[in-house]
Every structure is written in C-alpha cells, then in structure tokens.
C-alpha cells in the first residue's frame, strides 16, 4: 500500500495532473477515432478511483462496488428518461444514488470483516442486480435502459457522434473527481482512514469510532462510484445489467491492483493499461486479453513493488519534504 501524499510540495503534487492532461490532449489530437474508448476509460477510471478509497486507503477488500456504480447509472438514466437531460444534474443524481446505496448497505456490511465482509458485498450487489432484472418495467431488464437523450453540457455543447464532447466531458469530470478525492484523503479524515487500515486496534484506542468512520468513507466512495455510473450512462446512452455485475467489480479490482492502490493516480494508470490491453487484444481474439492480464496479475503479485515504492518514498523524504521545522523550547 502506498502511503498518502502529505509530505510532498504542492508543485510536485501537480505533476501527475499535468501528465494526465497532456495525455488527454495527445489522444484528442492524434487519435480522434479512439475518443469514445477514451471517454469510457476516463469514466471507468473514476470508478476504480472510488474503489481505491475503500480498498487502498481504508483497507477493505470488496467485490461488490458495482452496487453503487450501477445505482448511479440507472438513477442517471431514469432521470434523463423521465425528468431532464441535463448532464450535470444527472451526475449529481447518480452521485446521490451511489451514496445512498453505500449508506444503506454500509450500515449492514461494515459490522463484518475479512472474508465475511467480502462475501456480503457480493451478496448486496447481486441482490441489486437481480432486483434490477426483475423490475423490467423501470430498468429494461436484460435489454437495458436506453432511448434517453442528453442535453447540452453546461448549455454549450451537445454530445456528438464523433465523441469529442463526450471525451472532453469525461476527462474533465475525471480530473475533477481525482482532485476532490485526493483533497479528501489528504485531510485528517483521510489520515484516520489510513490509520484504520494500518492498525484498527490502535485507532480504537485513540477514541475513534472505527465503524462510523468506515461508514463515512464508504459513502464518499459510493458518491464517486455513482458519478462514474452516471457518466457511463450519459456517454454510452444506455444502461445495462452488467453495471451491477460481479464481473465489473472484479475487473475494477484487477485494474486497481495493476496500477497500484493507495494513491489514486495508480487507479487511473491501471484502468488505462487494462482497458487498453483488452481493446487491442480483443480485436484479435476475444479471449487473448486474458493471457496478458492473467500474466500481469501473476507478475504483479510475484514481484513485490512495495520494496521499490518504499525506496522511492525514502528518496523523496530525504529531499527535504518537511515544511514545519521542529520548534525547540515551545511551552
């Protein structure tokens, strides 16, 4: 687990953002027919980042994160179908739906730990998936929810067939989400989450109501998962049952681990790698990407990167990252 980003200077923290923007610009200019894929990657990256909050920071292994993603997707889809096609409002609706699902399921789930917790997260998302399938009238069942159209983003640009607007929209939302999540995890709240991950016993002895704290981070993660789901509904203009499926939760976990958990930038990197490989390899044979991803996973586990990242962080720390000097003789 990589540690949070407290001791780095502000300008150093900005570097990854610059890189992501640069990458987006390169894709926009040089790969115009890959923009729909790029938008989907940006959207998935938000989902994987929200998963990072729960898995990487708070240390809770979950395979049911899709519950919040799907809730956000269906909420946004239904909102666009029945109320209004304004994209930004739709994002908010999806976010609230995700947060709500997280709040309610968290009340139950967070009483448990370890394998039991993991299995129960699967149960919750599967229950929601089956419920969505049953409520065919609302969700379209196996056929999915479609036929809704999106309005103009900020009243300026409407989604075009080439996917340019969708791409810019998705990337901006992704960067904004990244910034927000890093801010939240850089706060005392985020520090306490990491503390719980590292040593629950110690946190309890500090007077932390651990379960209440975990419920809060779960809701925050649900909020952003809902944003991701809503975004996906808007740029794809269809919501299917797979947004609530176990497969998606498992794939997101794989993406997170490939890129590195615990600092959010890895979530984006992992998503890029996974979806990139999937896209390229699937064109050859629908199963070949499994070879590559499978081999990558095996390699990631067998070659411990923690050693490298610890050494890297030690080097950064020695470059004088502290800003407040020890005060001598303060009463």
């Amino acid at each position: 687990m990589q540690l949070i980003h407290h001791s780095h200077q502000p300008w150093r923290q900005a570097i990854p953002y610059v890189l992501w923007v640069a990458l987006a610009v390169v894709v926009y200019v040089f790969f115009p027919d890959q923009l729909p894929l790029g938008a989907r990657i940006a959207c998935m990256a938000i989902f994987v980042m929200s998963l990072d909050l729960v898995v990487g920071y708070a240390g809770l292994a979950t395979l049911g994160h899709c519950a919040m993603y799907g809730a956000g997707a269906y909420a946004a889809g239904l909102w666009a179908t029945h109320v209004s096609g304004d994209p930004l409002v739709g994002l908010l609706v999806g976010a609230v739906a995700g947060a709500l699902v997280a709040a309610l399921s968290g009340l139950f789930l967070l009483r448990f730990q370890g394998l039991t917790f993991l299995m129960l997260t699967i149960a919750v998302s599967q229950i929601l998936e089956n419920l969505a399938s049953k409520m065919r009238h609302w969700t379209g069942g196996d056929d999915g929810l479609s036929g809704f159209s999106m309005g103009k983003v900020l009243g300026l640009a409407s989604f075009d067939l080439s996917g340019r607007v969708a791409f810019v929209y998705a990337v901006v939302v992704m960067l904004l989400s990244l910034w927000l999540m890093r801010r939240i995890m850089g706060s005392p709240f985020g520090l306490a989450c990491v503390g719980i991950h590292e040593n629950r016993l110690r946190m309890a002895a500090l007077g932390s109501s651990v379960t209440a704290h975990l419920q809060r981070i779960y809701i925050v993660a649900g909020f952003f998962a809902g944003v991701a789901g809503a975004l996906s509904a808007q740029i794809n203009q269809i919501v299917g049952l797979d947004t609530l499926g176990f497969d998606l939760s498992a794939e997101a976990l794989v993406m997170l681990v490939l890129g590195g958990a615990g600092h959010l930038h890895g979530a984006i990197a992992g998503t890029l790698v996974f979806m990139g490989i999937h896209h390229v390899a699937s064109a050859i044979n629908p199963y070949h990407w499994l070879f590559i991803i499978g081999a990558l996973l095996v390699a990631v586990v067998l070659l411990p990167r923690e050693r490298w990242s610890l050494a890297w962080r030690a080097r950064l720390a020695s470059l004088g990252a502290a800003r407040v000097h020890p005060s001598r003789g303060v009463p």
Binding site: V55, N130, L131, K134, L290
Partner: protein
C-alpha cells in the same frame, strides 16, 4: 405435490454438485488459510478432460470420469507444490489476485485448445435412462449425483475421524505450527488435501455438466457460487459446507421453478442472512 418433489430432487442434486465442487476449497481455506479463487478451474478441468476422453476419444464414461478426476488431482498437487505454496504467507489480496490471474490464464488456455463452445459429456445409456423407484421415476444421473455426494460425505467423515491422515488434517487445520512441532508432516498433508480437493472439484464439474455447462468462462461464472457455499458453510467445515450447499441448492432451484423472474435474488438474500447470522459458518457457534 409433483412440483415439490421435483424441486426437492433437483435442488438436492444441484446442492450436491455444489458441495462436491466446494468441499476442496473449504478444506484448503481452513487448512492453509489460502484463498484459491482458481478452484473453479479444477472443476472445469475435470469436466473438459472427461469430455475430451469420452466424446472425442471414445472412452467409456466411467473410465473417462476416473481418469479425469485423477488428472485433475495431479494437476492440483503440482500447482500446490510448485507455485501456490510460496503464497501462503502473502496477504489476502495477493492470494486473491494471483489466483484470479491464474484463472484468467487457464480460461485463455482452454479457449486456445478447445475453442469457446460448450463441451458436452455424452452420458452412457444406463445413466440417461430413467430409474423407477416405485414412488417416483428419476433420471439415473440425478441418482448418481446424490449417491456420489452421500459417498463423499461418508468417506470424508470416515477419513477425518478414523484414519491417521484425517487426524493429522484436523490437527493441522486447528493449529498448523503446533501440528508440525508434534511431528505431523504438515506439508505432505497440505499437498494431499489440496490434490483431493482438486480431484473432487473435477468430479463435481463432470457430474454437474448438465446444470453448469462447461465452457471457458466456467471458473468465473461459478466462482461466486462456490465462494458462497464455502463462506456460509464455514472455512474448513465439511458438514457445514454440505448443509450450506444443500440449503442454497434447494433455495436456488425453488426460486427457478416458482419465481423465475426474480432470478437468483432469494439465493443471495438467503446467503446474506445466513452469513450475518453465523459468520463463522453455519454449524459453528460464535464464541
């Protein structure tokens, strides 16, 4: 009335298949505390080898079954000794991810060798014919599944309680370090338990081929089911796994017959309730 009987028979058969596949995972989870998400791949392997031998090489069904189970057991043993053993001390997430990666590799390999189509295992005439029990006629295959399941339960009970291996196994599950200081060859117990578990999974894959079709994505499709049985039944609890598998098998079959548009929702609601009620395992009382 007929409907209830159908639900009971099919539900028990389905539950038995789940049990036979899952019992190996439960034991290895309890024994090595190792989360092997590739366990479903053993079921798939057993099914595929049997299908290949029986359908493509014209072996008689029984020989094909035995050979397939043995092959799966050997593959399991090799995997444990050469690869998985190194990961026993790794964290949960590491084990989960490694075995998912392994599963992906196996899925892709199977597709490479045999393509993406469903593999059918043609049953011999004596198995596909219905058997008249007097009060009901049942497909012989169902009887076989139920019979094998009961046999597995009885054999494992006998092994666990009346053989030295069983005592070693139970000791090693309870406390691995103490067991090894007592001179129990823990590593050998682990390999053997793993191999038997893998072989049983293969057996379950063959017997359940009708209910759970054999195709490359099999390990992932049915991973959740297996995990549910193991977690509800309790890690390392054989009787717990049996109870969980049968209960969940019946619930799932009943909901398929009676409320099919609800899908598997009742299955997962039941699972969540059972797990919340008894997190350590169905038949384990919380300390």
């Amino acid at each position: 009335m007929q409907l209830l009987a159908n639900i009971a028979i099919d539900g028990l058969a389905y539950g038995m298949v789940l049990f036979i596949i899952s019992v190996g995972l439960s034991v290895t989870l309890g024994l090595m505390r190792f989360i092997n998400l590739a366990h479903g791949a053993f079921a798939m392997l057993g099914g595929y080898v049997c299908a290949w031998l029986v359908r493509l090489n014209d072996w008689p069904f029984v020989w094909g079954l035995i050979a397939a189970v043995l092959v799966t057991g050997v593959v399991g043993a090799l995997l444990e000794v050469l690869v998985l053993r190194r990961l026993y001390r790794s964290g949960e997430l590491q084990q989960v991810l490694f075995t998912i990666g392994l599963t992906f590799l196996m899925i892709a390999t199977v597709n490479l060798l045999w393509g993406p189509e469903v593999q059918l295992i043609p049953l011999p005439v004596w198995l596909s014919a219905p058997v008249d029990l007097g009060f009901r006629t049942l497909p012989a295959q169902r009887l076989l599944v139920l019979g094998v399941g009961v046999l597995v339960v009885m054999l494992s009970a006998w092994v666990m309680h009346f053989t030295r291996f069983g005592i070693w196994l139970r000791a090693a599950v309870d406390n691995t370090s103490t067991a090894s200081t007592l001179g129990i060859a823990v590593e050998r117990v682990q390999v053997l338990a793993f191999a038997v578990g893998a072989g049983l999974a293969g057996l379950g894959g063959i017997l359940g081929a009708e209910l759970m079709p054999l195709e490359p994505y099999y390990p992932i499709k049915y991973l959740v089911l297996v995990l549910v049985v193991v977690s509800v039944g309790g890690m390392g609890q054989i009787t717990g796994s049996l109870a969980a598998a049968l209960a969940l098998g019946i619930i799932e079959t009943a909901s398929k017959y009676l409320a099919s548009d609800w899908g598997s929702m009742f299955f997962f609601v039941a699972m969540a309730l059972l797990l919340a009620w008894r997190p350590e395992g169905l038949l384990v009382r919380r300390a």
